[in-house]
Symmetry: C2
Subunit: 192 residues, 2 copies
DNA sequence: TTTATTGCAGAACAAACGTTCTAATAAAGG
DNA sequence: CCTTTATTAGAACGTTTGTTCTGCAATAAA
């Protein structure tokens, strides 16, 4: 019974995500969304709820996808230094790809986290999970003797996370990919 | 001739700056401004121009003040490592002080730089100047033998700038001051 | 004290916002 | 076919936005 949707639910969600990523939450109006996505107002509301809910859904999707990608990329027996070098290079090429809209989560952390509890919660998940992924991979490396015993994998992980945040800002506002790659090399010197 | 203003022009500008810093540009309405600043709409317009101009003026003021402060703090013959450690600690305590609204420039880089040329220009000034301040101080240290000859002061400066950006985001959204201090120590390991 | 000029308060404005209502449309089951 | 249910397009809603207009108050010079 009933009519079928004229658009792909997941695909349109991704388009909305991309729009939010480029323009931010407040700077993206509902008219922008219906215009760019080619979906009517009512359909958006029926499918995703109001603007805030849509944003939150997109952000959650982005977070999940990011974490999955990171886990996959770091689940590799290569030497840590090489591994993280490649990891950061990929991140810089990706996040900083043409037009460089940066990272939706970092953008949200700046625009919304201080005033929206849900976003703040997701930001904390982002931090905790990525630090966890980094730390566990660094621990393995430490057991294999690739990293000195006196280093704290958790502290190293946090540091790498913080530099990641900086890269996201730089790529969005300055977009100097090459010097970010150089910075990544320097950051990874902390591994010893 | 004529009437005198009932408010201090510089002081109110600082209040506006602080409001923008906490809430961002789009999330701060003109009513918010008149309400919190205790100045009438018309007076704000007469004194500072429209909202965008007011923001830009505040941002420029913030930038100048920041750069001056940094120059002053780094104009010190102490050993670089100590000097930068103190510098970052102060920055973390300041930017991350209670409520931690972060850095107005970093917030602007994320919210406005991609779509506002004037903000983007100020962001580039921010980057160039701070990198310059860092680099020149690092060069002095290198000449004094505090830093190995094979290191590139400009690359080091850029790296430190990028980590600074990350700290601003982390302090705004996560507000974990202590682990930022630990990260700062790790970042400064690149000095050798 | 008058006059000229600037500052201020609040009403008023059009435009844009997020959201909802209304009516027409399309598909699937009977 | 008809009925039912869901989807859609577009008008409409009330708010809020940034900005301006209007009228009055205060100051300093003449």
């Amino acid at each position: 019974m009933s009519r079928t949707k004229e658009f792909d639910e997941a695909e349109v969600l991704d388009q909305a995500l991309e729009l939010f990523r480029v323009r931010g939450f407040k700077h993206t109006s509902f008219s922008d969304l219906t215009g760019e996505l080619g979906v009517s107002r009512q359909s958006l509301y029926d499918t995703y709820g109001d603007k805030q809910t849509l944003y939150q859904t997109a952000l959650k999707r982005y977070l999940d996808r990011s974490l999955d990608g990171m886990r996959r990329k770091l689940d590799d027996p290569a030497p840590v230094r090489e591994l993280f070098t490649g990891f950061f290079d990929a991140l810089i090429s990706g996040t900083c790809s043409n037009g460089s809209p940066g990272c939706l989560m970092v953008n949200s952390m700046v625009e919304l986290a201080p005033h929206d509890a849900a976003t703040r919660a997701l930001a904390h998940v982002h931090a905790r999970e990525i630090e966890g992924i980094f730390a566990s991979r660094l621990s393995v490396a430490q057991r294999k003797g690739e990293i000195a015993q006196d280093k704290d994998p958790v502290a190293l992980a946090r540091f790498l996370y913080h530099t990641m945040l900086g890269f996201a800002v730089a790529s969005r506002a300055l977009g100097d990919r090459e010097s970010l790659r150089v910075s990544a090399r320097l950051a990874l010197q902390v591994l010893g």
